[in-house]
């Protein structure tokens, strides 16, 4: 088992140039935005002199390549810089925001598996049957609804109308978090499930027709035990990569959903810092998200390797 995970160090090293590219793009893209932080900080009634003074103080008047090199040099020392608006290290801001977003993503992933696996099984059991049609209808509708709209609808129904859940915020205790994050996580899960269901359904149909399921039946296996023992794991293999790719998109979606549910996560931090031209924070958040997506890619391959003994990623890396 362990020898098949040899690919991880190589993949981590490969991710370094990726991170570099990301910093480069993020840095120059951020500076394409009109306006600057000094202006945003001082407000509309600032004089030209005070703006110029603050610009010099913040180092924003230096040439862009120089600013980028300073940024990189700091990065190598583990310093993401200081937020222009909050005047605290960007890393402190990340430490506060990251757990919220990670919890939200994990929660959404778990919920979407709870939705997808039974529905996909229901559909795959008799393709073309009425249940299959129902599930396929759900995936179409689920895919067609915009995330933020689903979020708002859930809020209106479950938080405003029935008062079952809070309208926003994150809570204070662990249990609180689970409760407060339920609706936003459900929103993300609803938008992620259709893709998972489609992938799982088609791979389950293939698996159910395979010879080894016939073998399992010839051993008297049936129903749930047949499903758990010989269908789910095999069908999950192609779906894992689908989930991996979609988690990347889900990060983007979670940024919007955090706004809808007023969660103090990366999304809120990102949007606030873009509006205030707080470049160090924008760069810090983007860098983190980029690295996170790289890590998801590696984790996907790890899960893939654990599920399918035929896969050897170390060979794929060398090839």
């Amino acid at each position: 088992m362990l020898h098949r995970l040899r690919f991880i160090p190589a993949r981590l090293i490969q991710s370094i140039p990726v991170a570099f590219g990301v910093t480069l793009i993020v840095f120059f893209m951020a500076h394409l935005l009109p306006g600057n932080a000094a202006l945003a900080l001082l407000g509309q009634r600032a004089t030209a002199e005070s703006v110029a003074a603050l610009t010099t103080q913040l180092g924003l008047d230096r040439p862009l390549p120089e600013q980028y090199l300073i940024f990189l040099a700091q990065l190598f020392q583990g310093n993401l810089g200081t937020s222009l608006t909050y005047q605290v290290p960007v890393s402190d801001l990340l430490v506060q925001a990251v757990p919220v977003t990670l919890a939200l993503l994990l929660y959404a992933l778990i919920l979407s598996l709870f939705i997808s696996i039974p529905l996909a099984a229901l559909a795959a059991f008799r393709p073309g049957g009425s249940r299959d049609l129902g599930v396929r209808g759900f995936t179409l509708v689920g895919q067609g609804m915009p995330q933020f709209w689903v979020g708002i609808m859930l809020l209106l129904i479950f938080a405003v109308r029935f008062r079952l859940f809070p309208v926003g915020g994150y809570g204070t205790t662990q249990l609180d978090h689970l409760y407060f994050l339920f609706l936003p996580a459900l929103t993300l899960a609803i938008s992620m499930s259709p893709t998972i269901i489609r992938s799982l359904r088609s791979s389950m149909i293939n698996v159910l027709e395979s010879e080894y399921v016939g073998t399992a039946k010839s051993k008297g296996s049936y129903g749930i035990s047949l499903f758990r023992g010989h269908v789910l794991r095999n069908a999950a293999i192609p779906t894992v990569s689908v989930i991996g790719v979609n988690l990347g998109f889900l990060v983007g979606g979670s940024l919007v959903i955090e706004r809808v549910f007023a969660l103090p996560g990366l999304g809120s931090l990102m949007i606030n810092s873009i509006f205030s031209r707080d470049f160090p924070t924008v760069q810090g958040v983007t860098l983190f998200v980029a690295l996170f997506v790289v890590v998801i890619g590696i984790l996907t391959d790890v899960v893939y390797t654990m599920l399918d003994p035929r896969v050897d990623m170390s060979k794929a890396v060398r090839a």
Partner: protein, 326 residues
């Protein structure tokens, strides 16, 4: 006839369209297998031999079903039995070996676990005890170093080993009837010989009856005591292996023998059967073999010949040979 382990009577397998029988693939097949008997079913691809076997196992592919007829195991009708009762028979009473062990084994589960699954379910063994049984079974099928091999995945084993795993899996609950669907077709000749020896040895030890589906007459000759020859969904000839192969009455059986090499007479020229088997949708009226048969007369195409007794325990369905010998 109640001492028969398996009785198949007038079995018709086919597909339905809009609730009505549409295509008939296996037509009016009857045979019976006694305890300890080793019964071979020979025929070319598409003759319906594998579907007949799968019907016995209850593993017909989606859309294909038993349209009429009766399959009885130890006097009890399998076709009329509730599914959960039938599933309880699968493993401890009836087991099956498939043609291609690579696709018939689950690629993501260790082979030892796959063998242990049956004993855990049917014999109520613990995981550990079932694992011991699995290793024991692997040793009995002649797998060297079974403890280590039990932890292997199917793709890590050779074709011969994989088929031994299939055999170990099938016999793990001591079934009384073993269904083999061309178990040696995917193997090369030397490995095929070894696997057949293992199978024969196990059946001789435990008294398990065997139904062996193959297209290979030599394999039937080596393994079976009785046999049936299928052509286009019908049994055209049946009897003991010695009778059928030594004194073939049906022109199709004679054609099969004439087209297979005979090591005792290597100088003999092989004579192929001309033409192709009929397709399922355009099966000719009367004897399906008539268009390819050298002995065919006009009457052959009028009605399906009845199955006649040509010698004690030896039947053939041909108006020419049955008429000649009557």
């Amino acid at each position: 006839m109640t001492d028969m382990l398996l009785e198949v009577e007038n079995l018709v397998i086919g597909m339905r369209r809009a609730g009505r029988p549409d295509a008939v693939i296996v037509d009016d097949v009857s045979f019976s297998v006694a305890a300890h008997e080793r019964f071979g079913i020979v025929g070319e691809s598409g003759s319906g031999k594998s579907l007949t076997l799968r019907a016995v196992a209850g593993l017909l592919p989606k859309g294909v079903e038993v349209l009429s007829g009766r399959i009885a195991y130890a006097g009890k009708s399998l076709t009329g039995m509730p599914p959960q009762e039938r599933r309880r028979l699968m493993g401890p009473e009836i087991a099956m070996i498939f043609q291609e062990p690579m696709t018939a084994l689950n690629p993501v589960i260790r082979v030892g676990e796959q063998i242990a699954e049956g004993p855990r379910r049917h014999l109520g063994l613990s995981k550990k005890a079932a694992n011991t049984v699995a290793i024991e079974m692997m040793a009995r099928t002649g797998i060297p170093d079974p403890e280590r091999r039990a932890r292997a995945y199917p793709h890590e084993l050779s074709g011969g080993l994989r088929q031994r795993i299939m055999i170990a899996m099938a016999v793990s609950c001591n079934p009384r009837l073993l269904l083999c669907d061309e178990p040696t077709t995917a193997l090369d000749v030397t490995v095929q010989h070894q696997v057949l020896k293992v199978l024969e040895g196990l059946c001789a030890d435990t008294g398990t009856a065997l139904i062996f589906v193959t297209h290979d007459l030599a394999v039937v000759n080596q393994t079976c005591t009785d046999m049936a020859v299928m052509y286009s969904g019908h049994i055209v000839e049946s009897g003991t292996v010695a009778d059928v192969l030594g004194d073939a009455r049906h022109p199709y059986t004679q054609g099969l023998l004439g087209s297979a090499p005979d090591f005792d007479r290597p100088e003999r020229r092989l004579v192929p059967i001309p033409g192709f088997p009929p397709s399922l949708t355009s099966r000719p009226a009367g004897c399906p073999f008539a268009p390819r048969c050298a002995l065919a007369v006009d009457d052959c195409s009028k009605a399906m010949p009845t199955t006649e007794l040509v010698a004690p325990g030896h039947t053939a369905a041909c108006i020419m040979t049955a008429g000649v010998l009557a």
